[in-house]
């Protein structure tokens, strides 16, 4: 095992990221005083973004192991690096618990008292339950991820397969429930049985885009072992086509069923997002998350170019941010879309902490990254 760091970040970059995180933190704190609804909505976007990126790491490891794939072996450090960010996501989750009263209608006993539906849902949707479940999700994910990371570094193939299967189970159940807790319950009167799958599709798209960026960065730094890196990039691009298509498919499945049945308890969610100024953001979300990456990735020339793939990945990451914004913010300020310092501050805080931890992770424990 080598102890040489895979990549050394310029101290300047680390300082810049620290400053960005500090600015984000200050904007978040000021935002809490000025307009706590918007600040917490922004924080939830940033938190959910980071959780998705961190969980995508073990998810990719488990999927590759279960399907017996060897094509991505040269990129093995990438998902490991993402997986190690789970404790950071947990830390952000603990802070989120402070925002429950600002974010979730069901946490106010006065409102629950006048609302039979909220009373009916109270055994699940209550502050204590929310916090306990959040702790349980992260505990289960962390233990399953740790086991998976160990098994993928040595030991028998059978043990790796068992650890992968265990992670998939823990992840699928936990992430489905978490998507209901954290996002769907923002509007506790609304429900959609496909919602968890939609959130999962977003995790896949953003996680893969992040993995592509890390892969390109490590390859440019010459940190990856020998391998057919262009072929690997091409293959990552092909999977990205599939995942963006999957995301769009699930988006449309949810929309089409609600549009067709036209039930008064289901439509308000879309009515809010397709009226007023919100109306233009929904097509923009589809263009960024699906149309641009889907069409661009069809061209083999672009899939095999690092510069083009990095740009496509950035479009996908911005698209995912907009996707989360459209999921979360309309309930915080239904009248019109607002994107200002109070949203951007906490998002900046979470994402720059994640990037900082990613770069630090490359230096600190290089032995844990090798596949």
């Amino acid at each position: 095992m080598t102890e040489r760091a895979l990549y050394r970040t310029q101290p300047r970059t680390l300082r810049a990221l620290t400053v960005l995180a500090g600015v984000g933190a200050i904007l978040f704190l000021v935002g809490l005083l000025v307009d706590s609804h918007r600040a917490w909505a922004g924080y939830l976007i940033g938190f959910h973004y980071v959780v998705g990126l961190a969980l995508a790491g073990p998810l990719f490891i488990a999927v590759l192991a279960l399907s017996g794939a060897r094509w991505a072996d040269a990129a093995a450090p990438v998902p490991r690096l993402m997986a190690q960010r789970l404790p950071l996501a947990f830390g952000l989750g603990l802070i989120l618990c402070l925002g429950i009263p600002s974010l979730y209608e069901w946490s106010h006993s006065a409102q629950v008292a006048q609302d039979p539906l909220l009373q009916h849902k109270a055994p699940w949707l209550n502050t204590g339950g929310f916090i306990v479940r959040l702790l349980l999700y992260f505990l289960a994910w962390y233990l399953a991820t740790r086991l998976l990371l160990r098994r993928s570094q040595g030991g028998t193939r059978g043990a790796l397969l068992r650890a992968s299967a265990l992670f998939m189970l823990v992840f699928a159940v936990g992430y489905s429930l978490a998507s209901v807790d954290w996002i769907e319950s923002l509007d506790p009167h609304w429900f959609s049985t496909i919602f968890a799958l939609y959130i999962l599709a977003g995790l896949g798209v953003s996680g893969l885009a992040c993995a592509i960026l890390i892969f390109i960065g490590l390859r440019r730094a010459g940190s990856l072992g020998p391998g057919r890196h262009v072929e690997l990039l091409d293959d990552l691009g092909k999977i990205a086509i599939g995942l963006t298509l999957f995301w769009a498919y699930i988006w449309y499945c949810q929309y089409m069923l609600i549009w067709y049945t036209d039930m008064p308890e289901e439509t308000p969610w879309y009515v809010l997002r397709l009226r007023g100024t919100w109306q233009s953001l929904t097509p923009a979300c589809l263009v960024l998350n699906w149309a641009i990456p889907f069409l661009a990735l069809m061209l083999r020339r672009l899939r095999r170019s690092e510069a083009a793939m990095a740009r496509i990945a950035i479009v996908m990451l911005i698209g995912h941010g907009l996707d989360l914004y459209l999921l979360i913010s309309p309930t915080a300020h239904p009248s019109d879309p607002l994107i200002g310092p109070w949203e951007l501050g906490p998002i900046l805080l979470c994402l720059s902490l994640f990037t900082l931890a990613l770069l630090r992770g490359l230096e600190r424990r290089p032995a844990e990254l090798s596949g």
Partner: protein, 173 residues
């Protein structure tokens, strides 16, 4: 008069790739490679142009999508408008599923048809005797003997040197 072909039989894809590279370096003309599975990097090594099949898929898919959307629009908004729960007759969300299916149907059938036509495959075509193992675990590299570089034995020696366990000669028809 036909020229002679040398057919090398390989068990290992890496050795086959080496042999292909060596032939290209020596200026030996590669007629074809027959393999039961896709070999990574073989197309580049043989210097084959990228396949034009995706364009058939794209054009057929776009045709299917347009036809599907147009027919539904014509049927439900022009020819026989029916009020379904007060929705507009030309409701795009309702047309997407069938448009999507038509895209896949046209693209899939056209791709298979184009592949069969281009490679002259058809259900009643029989495999040449002696090539049965090329659909199982055997890889063949076929090179042509050219007059300019004719030294007897060069071709088969080169193939053997790169791991061919058998080389036989055939006269081109």
């Amino acid at each position: 008069m036909g020229r002679r072909l040398h057919v090398g039989t390989f068990d290992d894809a890496h050795q086959l790739l080496d042999a292909v590279h060596a032939c290209r370096e020596q200026g030996i003309e590669i007629v074809d490679v027959i393999s039961p599975f896709p070999v990574h990097g073989l197309d580049e090594a043989m210097g084959i142009r990228p396949s034009r099949l995706p364009w058939v898929t794209l054009v057929a898919g776009a045709t299917g999508l347009s036809l599907g959307l147009w027919f539904q629009y014509w049927a439900s908004a022009t020819n026989w408008p029916i009020d379904v729960g007060g929705r507009p007759f030309d409701s795009l969300p309702a047309f997407i599923v069938i448009g999507f299916e038509m895209t896949i149907l046209f693209a899939g059938l056209a791709t298979v048809a184009a592949l069969f036509l281009r490679s002259r495959l058809c259900p009643w075509r029989r495999l040449r005797p002696g090539l049965e193992r090329t659909t199982d675990d055997e890889l063949l590299l076929v090179v042509r003997e050219t007059d300019a570089r004719f030294v007897p034995g060069t071709h088969s020696a080169l193939l053997r040197e790169h791991g061919a366990h058998a080389v036989h000669e055939e006269v081109e028809e």
